[in-house]
């Protein structure tokens, strides 16, 4: 049956309804599909989280052992003042005290500005390692004095002392000389490392 123009006009509304309904149906399918994809993505995230938690629970005995072992180190770091902000005044006090105790002839030092060493991700917050490089010039009677100085420095705490370099050279004074003139010059670069745990309770 061929439709005339007036007849076709009567069909416009039903055709529009057809297009609208089918379009709405297709849109419904597409939207539902999107929701399904999102739900599947969420499921995979939650499943991975559950698997991770389950695995953690299974390893809890090992973890307990690990925590107990590491907590001793952590507490020691805290006790030594390595954890926390820099204590430059305490460093200066310690060096002054060591010089006096050891009777070092000459001791000069210079601490460079603090720099970031590494930042490790934690939960919550990061763990930031900082280093301040100290250059020490020592005038020594004997090489052993250097070891004593380094030991005293480590024992004084307030940082982890990582020696980067040390140069020892003779001053030329003969060992038989009776005076207390320095016989060895030592120059060391030492990193004074401190740790800031952003997740730690204040």
């Amino acid at each position: 049956m061929n439709t005339t123009s007036p007849e076709f006009k009567r069909l416009v509304l039903p055709i529009a309804a057809f297009v609208l309904l089918v379009g709405a149906g297709v849109a419904l399918i597409l939207w539902s599909h999107q929701v399904l994809v999102g739900a599947k993505r969420q499921l995979s995230i939650v499943s991975a989280e559950r698997a991770k938690n389950s695995e953690r629970l299974l390893r809890i005995a090992d973890e307990e052992r690990e925590v107990k072992e590491k907590i001793a180190v952590y507490r020691q770091l805290a006790a030594l003042g390595i954890l926390g902000r820099e204590h430059r005044l305490e460093w200066a006090d310690a060096i002054k005290r060591i010089r006096a105790q050891r009777g070092l002839i000459d001791l000069r030092y210079r601490v460079a500005p603090q720099r970031s060493l590494v930042s490790v991700p934690g939960k919550p917050g990061t763990i930031d390692f900082y280093a301040s490089t100290m250059t020490v010039n020592l005038a020594l009677l004997h090489e052993e004095d250097l070891f004593g100085f380094l030991n005293d420095l480590r024992a004084s705490g307030n940082a982890y002392y990582a020696v980067r370099s040390c140069t020892l050279s003779r001053t030329g004074v003969p060992p038989t000389a009776a005076s207390l003139a320095a016989r060895v010059n030592a120059t060391c670069d030492i990193d004074l490392i401190t740790i800031v745990d952003q997740g730690a309770k204040s």
Binding site: M1, T3, E7, R10, L11, L13, P14, A17, F18, L21, A24, G25, L28, I29, W31, S32, V35, L36, A39, K40, Q42, V46, E49, R50, N53, S54, R56, L57, I60, E64, E66, V67, K68, K70, I71, V73, Y74, L77, A78, I82, L83, V118, G122, K123, I127, L150, Y160, A162, V163, R164, S165, C166, T167, L168, S169, R170, D197, G199, A200, K201
Partner: protein, 516 residues
């Protein structure tokens, strides 16, 4: 939704009924004169949205059986139209009802050609409908609807006569294998039930006799079934009068029961058997009818509108069904997600309960582990110089003639020793490959208690000193600079005969320990 209106057309009048799902209500009545037609036009103008079904109940309806070649599509239509044109002068109200295929060699199709001998009485009314713009669903005659009524009343019968008492008169229709073969209408003028029953009997006998002459009824001795729909309250009289015999087997049903069988619950008080046909025309119209396609265009467009809208609805329903299936998946996935989340939470809570029993710290377990792990890495990369110097000190005790000038200890990477480290032992070269992080100790010294000119003894002492340093598996000698450059690439110098300066020959040894 268009209201279905049924137009019952007889020689005496035209009645309009409004049909709802199971009821029929009389709406208007028009005489078959000019005034009646005008009133009908006025009625139609007020009901332009109506869907009209015309059912004609007229005497003088012609039925003629014919055969045409078995054809399909446009060819069949052409042949049928030609046969109708040959049979009837006015084909506007003519129809060809298929009676089946004759399975002989020629494979012809049987047709029952039907029309009204006096179509003129009918056409002004159809013209009025066409002009009104209403939707004409079809024009039927009562006999066309008789097979459907016979099926509802008498079930499947090979041959039967359907008899009803209508407003137009006594309608008799002969049905063969569910198809109309013949029908007639005899006027009944206010007959009493007894007389009407007798009239039914006599007219049925006449019809059966006529059908016998046409040889369309079986001659195997089985009586021909006659289903009679008696008017309300006349069943007993009819059953008393219409007794079966060897040729006719009467089955009498009262009108209310017949109405119930066709599914009609309410009818006008004065309606007779025509209500049955009208209800069937609107509810289950036969495919064959008298109106031509042009007269039914409005109805076809209306059908097309509904079909397009229905297709849209079906499309939406199909999409919704598919979307429902997706949503079942979504709900399943969400349920699994909720289960997994719940399990994850329970496991995390168990973990938290257990970790609460761990020693208390100022930080979390994660931060604790990260802090200590990273600190250990840094510590491992930060050895103290004491170890290397102690090792050197031990070795020096074996070489009193060697005196140190300076020591340089540092952390760094070993350089490539190829080509300039010929004095270093092979095992030491393998121990610390070039580019590795290592603690390096550069030893600058001199060899005392030896003649400067005794370069063999001096070289031997320094090499033994270096070898002894490298005997510790942790250390290796990566570079040695001898007082005399005996390497092939170097320049060998000497001042034989010159005066001794007294200065001891100097050397350099670089010791390395690989950091792990």
């Amino acid at each position: 939704m268009a209201t279905k209106r049924l137009i019952y057309f007889t020689a005496a009048e035209l009645r309009v009924y409004r049909r709802s799902r199971r009821t029929l209500a009389s709406e208007a009545r028009f005489d078959t004169d000019e005034a009646g037609i005008e009133a009908f036009r006025a009625f139609l103008s007020q009901h332009r949205d109506a869907l009209l079904y015309v059912v004609a109940d007229l005497a003088g309806e012609d039925f003629h059986e014919d055969q045409i070649p078995y054809l399909r599509g446009a060819e069949r239509r052409t042949v049928v139209e030609r046969r109708l044109a040959q049979r009837y002068r006015d084909t506007r109200l003519s129809a060809a009802i298929p009676l089946g295929i004759i399975k002989d060699e020629r494979r012809n199709e049987r047709l029952l050609l039907a029309s009204f001998t006096n179509a003129q009485q009918f056409t002004p009314w159809l013209d009025a409908i066409a002009e009104s713009g209403t939707k004409l669903a079809g024009v039927f005659s009562v006999p066309m609807l008789a097979p459907a009524l016979a099926a509802r009343i008498g079930g499947r019968q090979a041959h039967c006569i359907m008899v009803t008492v209508n407003q137009a008169g006594l309608r008799q229709s002969f049905v063969e294998n569910g198809r109309l073969r013949f029908a007639r209408l005899e006027p009944t003028v206010n007959l009493a039930p007894d007389s009407l029953a007798l009239f039914v009997r006599s007219e049925t006998a006449r019809l059966a006799s006529y059908l016998g002459t046409l040889r369309v009824v079986p001659r195997d001795g089985t009586p021909l079934k006659v289903f009679v729909v008696a008017p309300r309250g006349a069943r007993a009289r009819f059953e008393q009068t219409l007794t079966s015999d060897a040729s006719l087997e009467f089955v009498t049903i009262e009108l209310p029961e017949a109405l119930d069988r066709v599914g009609l619950r309410g009818t006008p008080e004065d309606s007779l058997g025509e209500a049955l046909y009208l209800h069937l025309a609107a509810g289950n119209p036969p495919k064959d009818q008298f109106a031509k396609l042009e007269e039914r265009r409005g109805y076809r467009v209306w059908q097309l509108q509904r079909a397009v809208a229905a297709a849209g609805a079906v499309g939406f329903a199909a999409c919704a069904l598919y979307a429902s299936a997706i949503w079942i998946d979504i709900l399943t996935v969400k349920s699994r997600t909720a289960d997994q989340a719940s399990q994850s939470r329970q496991v995390a809570e168990r973990y938290a309960r257990i970790t609460r029993t761990f020693p208390v710290t100022q930080t979390t377990t994660d931060n604790l582990k990260a802090t200590v792990n990273e600190f250990r890495k840094i510590a491992a990369r930060s050895p103290s110089p004491e170890g290397a110097l102690a090792h050197l000190s031990t070795v020096l005790e074996q070489f009193p003639e060697i005196e140190l000038d300076s020591l340089a200890w540092k952390l760094g990477t070993t350089e490539s020793t190829e080509g300039r480290n010929r004095a270093a032992p092979e095992s030491a070269k393998r121990a610390v490959p070039a580019g590795e992080r290592a603690e390096l100790l550069e030893i600058n010294g001199r060899v005392n208690a030896a003649q400067r000119s005794d370069y063999r003894a001096i070289t031997d002492k320094v090499e033994r000193f270096a070898d002894t340093l490298a005997q510790n598996p942790d250390y290796s000698v990566v570079r040695t600079r001898l007082p005399f450059d005996i390497a092939s690439e170097g320049t060998l110098t000497g001042d034989i005969g010159a005066r001794e300066t007294g200065e001891a020959p100097r050397f350099t040894v670089v010791l390395a320990r690989r950091l792990r």
